[in-house]
């Protein structure tokens, strides 16, 4: 991701208050190309949303909506 001078939380900007673990498309934005959770230093997430994000991604992984490792076993 490109660093900008004024970074704001992309989730706050979208007006979303609670991240949903069932929406894997929205969560997919915050994964690296191997499927790791993108650190807030790169995504610019606020602390509250970063915490929500990590819980949501981990739940989505349990439900096989998101992979634990992208590209593994293919």
């Amino acid at each position: 991701m490109i660093r900008t001078r004024t970074k704001t939380c992309p989730v706050c900007e979208a007006g979303v208050r609670v991240l949903d673990y069932k929406d894997e498309r929205a969560l997919g934005r915050f994964l690296t190309d191997r499927g790791k959770i993108l650190p807030s230093r790169l995504s610019g997430m606020c602390a509250r949303h970063q915490r929500q994000l990590s819980t949501a991604i981990k739940r989505a992984r349990q439900l096989a909506l998101l992979p634990y490792i992208k590209g593994y076993g293919q």
Partner: protein, 113 residues
Amino acid sequence: MTRQYEVVYIFDPALEEAAVNERLARFHGLLGGAQPTTNHWGKRTLAYSVKRKDTGYYVVDQFETEPTALPEFERAVKLEEGVLRFLVVQMEGEMPAPIPVEAAAIPAEEEDE
């Protein structure tokens, strides 16, 4: 005190919809109280194989029940062979009312940098 819960089941894709509904009815019977809101997502590709299956039939349930009813419910779902995987979470719902934003937001954002 009752709580709001949400359950996502992944059923075996080989099951017919009628068979899925029959199992859901049995699970709902264990919860007592109000009928859950059920949302069928249908068949979807799994991000990785679960029990050697590459697709699953997703169903999302939302309901309100006593926490004491859950252990028995979870046990029944776990024993059901047609369920590949399931997840029970407490529904957080919307977050509590935001801090009166207009005034607070601007200084808070600047702190982030």
